[in-house]
Every structure is written in structure tokens, then in C-alpha cells.
Assembly symmetry: C2
Homo-oligomer: 409 residues x 2
């Protein structure tokens, strides 16, 4: 066909495994695409596409793809750009110039919305284009996929960290800090905080309290529970979402900064909570804001998540080459235990539906603990280890040297 080439780009906040999706997608393209069909990469998402900063992904070979799959962050760079009317013609011109018939955009809710915009722009221009949203986000808030690639690894990292920090807290609670608060990302959904609940094997183990945006924060009730927990177990470990809100839906804490798409930058709820606990209950507190660490910790990923990330990239190519249009490769759960899943194509429009939040029945009635249903959903997503190679004591991450596409004038 005329536009036999494809383009792959990455969007939004990174994950520890988005490059596994890239590696799977590139490998599948190399194996399955018609002879002569090229796969381009855009640097920095659609921003690089508009600026025609393209690289040749078809040129990557197996050792480089292996290396790519072991490196966290987004190898091509990302953006949170919203396409502006004055950019529409430029977008179509670049696609046309490189004979791009398929765009694979790998990201979360922002990328899904961008996919809708790209499709509408191409259709308005009469340019034939297949738009594929390849899901990725540690927030796990994309509907219609059992889990979002990236989430399982961040969840494993946070639950592990919470278990470790809880043991730390317990060791000195008798004469020192009695409360530890771990802040998680996840924006307006509490999936990552819920996943921290997996660290508790029995009632006395941390986390003792989960604070999700899905449940409005009630300071009196929270402080009462902290005191009860300290009285009972000697200490209290808390996991709290950055997007925690009050009774009227207002954010309890935000930095005041906004990102390129206008969304508020969150972060800082843990020190805020710690200050409340110390002021009201007199307990010495420790707190941690993991921030980027939780979404780039390739040294501690879920092998299940890695497999799903890679399979999502592979499936995107195979489903597109089979003729499906305007879709998203999503994970479908076939069984909980042992966990079985496959990948199917969901229509693009559905994936741009409102963000998915933690269902009420995944938490206990008081909202402070994971329920059996929540545990059943989350448990398989963090299973398995997949360590990167180390060199001189540190993970030997290497981003391949991509070959820039030279532009003929």
C-alpha cells in the first residue's frame, strides 16, 4: 500500500517497563511487517513528530532490543502535548512525507485523548491513517484493560518498600517514631495505594491504613485510627495517595505547579499528613515521597508486568497488520488464580472513557484496608521478578543510539 510505514511514540509519565512495550513492538514489526515497510520513532512524543525529529526503529537489532527492554524511563522521550489547531496541517504533512499509515502512541489517558485528536485531524484532511493507542501508565486508570502495563511494577516496588519500611518502623517504635507515611503517585485514582495493602500478610503488619482519593479524607477519623493502631501494635504504617481529597473533593495538597497539559502537579501529601499526626497526637513521624523512584525502578519490576508490557507492544503490531483499525490492545483477565490473560483489541473511543477508579468493594468497609476482592484483583499483577544486568554494582541501563532519519530537502 501507499502508506506502508508506521510510527511509534511515547507519551506522558514514564514507567519501568514502557521500553519493554517498545522492544516488543519493534521486534514484532521487524518480523511481521511487509518487506520495505519501515518503523519510525518520534522523539518526545507528538512534539517530536510535529518537529520531524524521527529515528529509524527498524534498524535496531536483537541485542539492542534486549538492552532497551531492561532500561527504565522512555527511551525516545515523551511529552504531554495537546495538539493545537495551527499544528493540524503540519501533523498531516509530516505523516504524508514519511508515508506513515499507522501511528502507535504509547501512553496513558493523555495519549488516548491525543489518539482521538490525531484520528480526527487525519480524517478531516482526508488522510488515511490507522491510530493505535498502546496503553501504559503506573496510575492503572485506563478502563477496559485488566491492568495497565507499568502499574504492576510500580505496585510491586511500593508494596515491597512499604513492607521494608514497616519493619524499620517496628524496630524502633518503642522509643522513637511511631508512624511512617509513604506517599504514592496515581493522580486521582488510588490503585497504587491499594496495592501497598498487599504488603500486609496479617493484621499486625503494615500498612495499617490506606488513604485513597476514592474516599474523602476525614482527619478526625484518621487520627483516631492512627492512635488505635499505635495502642494496639506499637506503631502505624500508612500509604497515602498524592491525590488525596477532602470532603468537598478539594485536593489536600498540591504543589501549585502545572504540567504542559494544564494538569496540577501533585506531591507533598505525606509531609502534610505527618505534620498533622505530630501536631495532634504528639507522635514522632517519618515519611517518604518516592516520586520518580516508583515509576523508574527497573531493578524491581513485576515479571508479569514485563510480559504484559511486551505482549501489548507485539499485539499492537500484529492486530494492526491483520487489518484492525483505531483500536487499543488491552489485557483481558481469563482467571485469577492461577492468573491467565490474553490481549484483545478494544475500540479507541472506549479507551478514552473517564479514568477508572478503585471500586468500593476492593476496600474494607472503613476504607482503610484491602478487601479480599481487592487482593484477588491485585495479587497476580506483581508476581515474578525480572532483574536487569548489573555492572560495577549498578543496573547497566543503556538506551540504544537511535539513528536519526535524514531529511531530504
Amino acid at each position: 500500500t501507499q502508506n506502508c510505514n508506521a510510527l511509534y511514540a511515547q507519551a506522558g509519565g514514564v514507567t519501568a517497563v514502557i521500553n519493554s512495550t517498545a522492544a516488543g513492538l519493534i521486534a514484532a514489526w521487524r518480523q511481521q511487517a511487509p518487506a520495505g515497510a519501515r518503523l519510525f520513532g518520534a522523539r518526545d512524543g507528538i512534539v517530536g513528530l510535529l518537529e520531524e525529529r524521527l529515528v529509524d526503529l527498524s534498524a535496531l537489532h536483537e541485542p539492542e532490543l534486549d538492552m532497551l527492554g531492561y532500561s527504565p524511563s522512555a527511551a525516545l522521550g515523551t511529552c504531554r502535548h495537546v495538539l493545537q489547531p495551527e499544528e493540524h496541517a503540519r501533523l498531516v504533512a509530516v505523516l504524508q512525507r514519511h508515508r506513515i499509515g499507522t501511528v502507535f502512541y504509547n501512553g496513558g489517558g493523555g495519549a488516548a485523548r491525543a489518539c482521538g485528536d490525531i484520528l480526527a485531524i487525519a480524517q478531516a484532511a482526508g488522510y488515511p491513517l490507522n491510530v493505535v493507542h498502546v496503553p501504559k501508565t503506573i496510575d492503572n486508570d485506563i478502563p477496559d484493560t485488566d491492568a495497565c502495563p507499568g502499574f504492576g511494577s510500580a505496585a510491586k516496588y511500593l508494596a515491597t518498600s512499604l513492607r521494608e519500611a514497616s519493619l524499620d518502623l517496628a524496630a524502633m517504635a518503642g522509643s522513637s517514631s511511631k508512624v511512617f507515611i509513604l506517599e504514592t503517585m496515581g493522580r486521582y485514582s488510588g490503585w497504587l495505594t491499594a496495592a501497598c495493602g498487599l504488603a500486609a500478610r496479617h493484621p499486625g503488619e503494615g500498612p495499617h491504613i490506606l488513604l485513597l482519593p476514592e474516599r474523602p479524607f476525614d482527619e478526625e477519623r484518621f487520627l483516631r485510627r492512627v492512635r488505635e493502631t499505635v495502642d494496639r501494635y506499637g506503631h502505624c504504617a500508612v500509604a497515602a495517595s498524592e491525590g488525596l481529597t477532602g470532603a468537598n473533593g478539594e485536593l489536600l495538597h498540591a504543589t501549585g505547579q502545572r504540567d504542559a497539559a494544564g494538569d496540577r502537579q501533585l506531591g507533598g501529601v505525606a509531609p502534610w499528613l505527618a505534620a498533622r499526626v505530630t501536631a495532634r497526637l504528639g507522635y514522632k513521624c517519618h515519611w517518604s515521597v518516592a516520586d520518580y523512584l516508583q515509576r523508574s525502578a527497573r531493578h524491581l519490576v513485576s515479571a508479569t508486568d514485563v510480559a504484559q508490557a511486551r505482549a501489548t507492544g507485539q499485539a499492537a503490531v500484529m492486530i494492526a497488520l491483520a487489518g484492525e483499525r483505531h483500536f487499543s490492545p488491552v489485557i483481558r483477565r481469563l482467571a485469577d488464580d492461577p492468573y491467565r490473560w490474553d490481549i484483545v483489541a478494544a475500540p479507541l473511543a472506549v479507551v478514552t472513557a473517564p479514568e477508572r477508579r478503585v471500586p468500593a468493594d476492593f476496600l474494607t468497609a472503613d476504607g482503610y484496608q484491602l478487601s479480599a476482592a481487592g487482593r484477588r484483583y491485585l495479587a497476580p499483577l506483581i508476581v515474578g521478578e525480572d532483574y536487569p544486568p548489573f555492572r560495577d554494582g549498578l543496573p547497566d541501563y543503556r538506551i540504544p543510539a537511535f539513528t536519526d532519519i535524514s531529511l531530504s530537502p
Copy 2:
């Protein structure tokens, strides 16, 4: 001899490998001590000793010792207690009652000072006691040992995290956050921040700026360097010590809380720095305070550190049984590359010398980077991996069920 029993206790902030020291010490005692000589453990350090909350460590068998060595935090609990005059008689009475002739106290500077106190108290009472300070601290500030067990693992964790977060930052710096700041522990010494410098393999890689307490913080100079780094590389990753001080030696940030020994609780310098960068340079910033995570991350330890922690515990017993008195088993470096070391006895008094800080020549002249000398010292300490067993996707940490000593009335 009359007082053939020994006591082991843990003090201060935990590390990821202090329980390896415990496991090594217990195993050596079981193998080497005279028949009938018992090894007790005190819960919560010398607080538990005073309260006669003792357990029987001689009863632990190999599988439990293996498990112990894989678990972070301090299995027996710790404290930061300073012995008070009214407690002296009680201390001697408890030692006498259990025929304890040797005390192994496993901790940092506070434990070293406590060892001095315990020895003085015993000598004043005419009670024959051998006092052994077994070193441990992530701060690496104990003189006379090449490295402090616990430091290498925290260093590896932080350098890994910094490398991962720097890749994250680089991926979106074009259109979003340009600066990331990772706060490290270490109190008034900058060893952990210096170790973050190991993450940079070439000038463009993070961390671009190290901020240690050993160099007074100069805001103008720092901001200038941040801007230069962003201009040059597009982003800037910073590692900053919690104990950062200004030109007059004042702490830039402290929580206002104090621990049981009266020391100030630190933490919060990263958000403070981030606010300065945003206010003065206009860059969007991200920051992380790892806090407990860095000292309890048994999932990512240095195999070198684990070996040294275990060997330190074993040597404490073997040297004591050989007749040495009032000492500390310290690590002696024999060669840098390949790293070779052994353990020797240092006199107790020397170990209670002032804390060891990062030498000037371990940093570049501007103080912002690791020098070749600094790299030579630090590099071997983080080498090697030693993963704990996982179960259901999480590290399967298990603290042995210690047998309490029943007290005959």
C-alpha cells in the same frame, strides 16, 4: 569461667544488613563458644537489657539464621538510649544475674558511646565485663573501619535510584520538569550523597550536582550551576544530604523533632531546595525523600556489604573468644581493585572518636562531583547483588520467633 554467657543487642537506625551481622555472630557463637555458654539477645537494645527483656539466641538453628540474614530492619528492635546514673546498678545486676561476661552492642556512634558507658559502669562496680562494639550504620561516619556495614547497601540503593530517576527526568525534560532532587540520609556526613555520584558514568549523566554537609551550601552558586546544567544537558539531577548546612554551619532544614538521644530529626531539605529552584529559576521540579526506604531496602543490597556485615558479626565472636577485650571488629582495606579486605580489632576508645566526614579530595574542587579518589574508595562497596527469596511477588521477610528467657523469681 564464671561469666561465660554473652549478650547481643542492636542500636540506633536500622540497616538492610544488620540482621546479617546478627546471623553471623549467632552462628559463630554456636560453633565456637565453650559448651554451656549461652548467647542472649536483648530486645530494643540496652532498654530491653535494663528491663530484662531477653531472648535465647543460642536456640536459633540454621534455617532461622538464613531467614534472619535475608530480613531488613533490626530483628531484636533497637533504641537510642543514653544510660542514666540511676540505671547503673540495675545494668550490673541484670548482667550478673545472667552471668553475662561479654556484651556485643551492634550500632553506630551512639552504640559506641553506650559501649564506653557500659564499660565504665562495669569497671566502677568491679564487675568483669568485655565490651565489644560491632559497627553498623548507613551513615558511614565511624572512624577506623574502611566502611560501616549497612552503608554499601544504602549507597547502592541510592545510586541505583538516582540513575533510574535521572533517566525518568531526561525523558520528559523537554516539555516538563527539568530538575530532580533526591534527598539522602547520613546526618552530618555526606557519604550517601557522595555515593550517588557513582551513578554517573559520563558527564551528561545524573547526578549532575552533589550537595554534602561537608561543603556549606551557597544558594547563588548552586542555582547558577543548575541553570548551566539545564542549558547544557536539558535537565539537572541533584543528590542532597538531609544535613545540608549554610555558611555558618546552621542546618538548612530540620523537622524540629528530636530523637530519644536529643539529636535533631532531619529530613525535608529536598522540597526546600526544589521550592528555591522553582522560585528563582522558574523550572518545574520533582523531588524524592527516600527516608526509611534507603536503609531497609533488603531487596537491593550490596553483596560486598552483606559479606562484610556477616563477617563483622563472626569476627566479633572469634576475636572475643580469643581473649581480646574492649574492641571493635573493623574492616581494613588491603586493595582497591580488586577490592580485598579483612577484619581486625580496633580499641574501643578509638571508635568513639568524632564522626568521620567525607575528605575534601573525594570531591572535585567545586564540591559538586565525585573525584577519582572518591570513586576509587566508594566503587567496591556497592558491588554484587544478593536477592532475598520472594513469595507472591514480594520479598519473603521473616523475623524468627525468638524464645523469651523465663526469669526465675
